[in-house]
């Protein structure tokens, strides 16, 4: 589903060259819940940005859903991102002037769905995170945990191939963090692949697989649980969408 081989990313300024990722390789399969950890400056964020196609890389190959990302132009990458990836951020990144409905609507607008389908999807997504009653509220009227749930609904509404979560509980107190984590696990069990970047070892332990990045390379590659049968997984996703 996602396969990175020998990715290299170098940041250049006039004076210094920083190797953010060097010979980075990783494969993620459908249905997995992968936690990516590492000290700050290790290249976690660069990994996340490259995975989300927000940044390009210098060499190596990145295959996403059988497409070679380095061969795509901005329009194609944006389309792919829009259809295949759901983003969740540490600071939620809800758009402050849009109400919950309109926030969830953002990726669907770029997808080009009809008004009717968008409405259906938004309502389903908000229902899934338990916030359908507050559709007309502005983000500022919600607690942090609720805001993150909206962000998750926004990421899910387009039925992406996987969720890309960047410290999803970093800005939350422990109770809310636990709730959000539970929600993510639930979503994963219902079949959506999740890649989560975190520095919280405890949180990472709850994922099926942990990847540790140090100095732009995977330092430790371990599998905690066998991967579910991919075929079975996709059927489940289809069922959820119908519901």
């Amino acid at each position: 589903m996602l396969k990175m081989t020998n990715i290299k990313k170098i940041f250049r300024t006039d004076l210094v060259e920083t190797h953010a990722l060097r010979n980075f390789s990783l494969e993620v399969n459908e249905g997995e819940f992968v936690a990516v950890t590492g000290p700050s400056g290790s290249g976690k964020t660069t990994f996340l940005n490259i995975t989300g196609m927000l940044e390009t890389f210098n060499s190596g190959t990145y295959m996403l859903d059988d497409k070679d990302v380095s061969q795509l132009n901005d329009n194609q990458r944006s389309k792919l991102r829009n259809e295949k990836i759901g983003f969740i951020f540490q600071s939620f990144n809800l758009i402050p002037d849009l109400n919950l409905f309109d926030n969830v609507d953002v990726p669907l607008r770029y997808r080009g769905f009809s008004a009717k389908e968008r409405k259906q999807r938004i309502e389903n997504a908000l229902e899934r995170v338990g916030l359908s009653a507050r559709m007309k509220h502005l983000p500022s009227q919600l607690s942090g945990g609720q805001q993150q749930r909206v962000a998750i609904a926004r990421a899910l509404a387009g039925e992406p191939l996987f969720l890309l979560a960047d410290e999803p509980t970093g800005n939350l107190d422990s109770l809310m963090a636990r709730q959000v984590m539970q929600l993510l696990e639930e979503i994963n069990q219902q079949g959506t692949t999740i890649i989560m970047v975190t520095h919280d070892a405890e949180l990472a332990r709850r994922a099926q697989r942990n990847i540790h990045i140090v100095d732009g390379q995977v330092s430790d590659y371990q599998q905690l649980q066998p991967v579910l049968d991919a075929q079975e997984e996709s059927e489940k996703v289809a069922e959820i969408a119908k519901a």
Binding site: N75, K79, R81, I95
Partner: protein, 438 residues
């Protein structure tokens, strides 16, 4: 998608009301100032009779003697004709229509003794004048063709004078006293106010049209005075009106209607024939002796209907607009950069660069249209100001549909141009920078 972008633009305007108002004011002022100036220019330069402007010709003859010249016009042709020339070329039957023309005026003496006499400007012309210049009649019609040869005291007045003297009733057949002479009214014309007053650009380009029209053939009989220019070059003893009629003084105007190039060519030949005939009796002795036919558009250009002050103002107003636009670019940069985090989110959620670019251009266009509307309002205010400043232009300063559309188009075009760079900049920024911490 457009409606979505418009909705987002509206939200963004609501979020940055001060910055947005500054931009709208900047664009509005730029458009307001340049539209005011452009309107005056456009109206002055406008073809006053588009259907016929290329068929109506003003006739000029180079009648100077040897060694004399005229530095007032570019081609040195005198602006007006002598009376003998106006009379002689009137014999040509080549033109479809033709008229002699002289600016004059009278004391109008009302019938009732209570109303005091008053002065009105008038024009001495031939019967085809009204047809040539498409002057509409309210009552009656022009006088008979034969009156141009055998004069009688007939007159056409305009509706304003008719209102004043006859309460707007059909006054055809009634009497009008001009000085000591009584004239019979044969027609009343509707309001007719060409701007510029193309048929006589010697006496104020934007003066009012005359209210009284009498046959040119009456000139020698009632010694109709000239209210326009009288230019002489020759030393002649001009002691009486009859002397003036026979002199080389240039004080008459002449217009012909030549519907096509063939007729124009034939007419030029006729006139050249006339000139060589005159040369035999000692006139037209200058080496440049000849004829110049200028159509309405050329005649307006020759007479510099648009003053040079206006060209300076057009230049300045476009520089003004440029400053307003540069200002707007600066403000847009500020506004868009403030929004960079949101753009980052949108990019992460799948918006492509071109979608972000278009969204921001829509944003700018909305501001542009609002600025354009403000500019139109300011432009109207500006025109009101121009009317009070230049009383003689008052009738021609108004915006027509073309100008209104032009104003919005300039506002839109200018603001989109201004928005290009900021929009390009914002759609190129790396979204990941704004996603980590907001």
């Amino acid at each position: 998608m457009l409606s979505y972008y418009l909705k987002l633009s509206w939200l963004s305007i609501k979020r940055t009301p001060i910055l947005t108002s500054l931009m709208i004011v900047a664009i509005g002022l730029g458009i307001g100032v340049s539209m005011t100036v452009l309107t005056v220019n456009y109206m002055m330069d406008k073809d006053p009779i588009p259907e016929k402007s290329h068929q109506l010709y003003h006739v000029q003859l180079y009648t100077y003697g040897k060694g004399h010249s005229n530095s007032n016009t570019e081609d040195q042709f005198p602006v007006q004709l002598t009376y003998p020339d106006a009379m002689n070329i009137h014999h040509s039957n080549v033109p479809l229509r033709k008229t002699r023309s002289l600016s004059t005026g009278f004391s109008v003496i009302p019938e009732s003794a209570d109303s005091p006499p008053f002065i009105e400007s008038a024009r001495a012309i031939d019967h085809q004048f009204f047809d040539m210049f498409k002057v509409p009649f309210l009552f009656g019609a022009t006088w008979d063709a034969e009156i141009d040869q055998s004069p009688r005291e007939v007159v056409v007045i305009n509706t304003e004078l008719n209102d004043q003297l006859f309460n707007g009733e059909n006054s055809v057949g009634r009497t009008l006293n001009l000085g000591t002479v009584s004239y019979t009214i044969v027609g009343v014309i509707s309001s007719w106010q060409p701007a510029p007053k193309f048929y006589d650009l010697n006496n104020g380009n934007f003066n009012d049209s005359e209210s009284i029209f009498i046959p040119f053939s009456l000139l020698p009989i009632h010694e109709i005075p000239s209210w326009g220019n009288n230019n002489g070059w020759k030393n002649e003893n001009v002691n009486s009106y009859q002397d003036k009629l026979a002199s080389e003084i240039m004080w008459n105007q002449y217009w012909v209607e030549l519907p096509n190039e063939e007729i124009k060519f034939a007419y030029l030949q006729w006139i050249e024939g006339y000139i060589s005939e005159q040369q035999k009796i000692g006139r037209f002795q200058h080496e440049k002796a000849g004829v110049s036919l200028k159509n309405v558009v050329q005649w307006m250009k020759t007479n510099q209907v648009v003053p040079s002050d206006n060209s300076i103002l057009v230049g300045l107003s476009f520089m003004f607009l440029a400053v307003c636009m540069i200002n707007t670019i600066g403000l847009l940069l500020a506004k868009f950069l403030q929004r960079a985090p949101e753009v980052g989110v949108r990019r992460a959620l799948g918006a492509s660069r071109s979608q972000i670019f278009i969204q921001h251009l829509v944003d700018v266009s909305l501001i542009g249209v609002l600025g354009g509307l403000l500019g139109l309002a300011l432009g109207q205010l500006g025109l009101l100001g121009v009317k009070t400043l230049y009383t003689s232009y008052s009738q021609l300063v108004h915006m027509d549909l073309t100008l209104i559309v032009l104003a919005i188009a300039i506002a839109l075009g200018a603001s989109i141009t201004a928005g290009m760079y900021p929009a390009w900049l914002i759609c190129r920024t790396n979204p990941s920078v704004y996603l980590k911490i907001q």
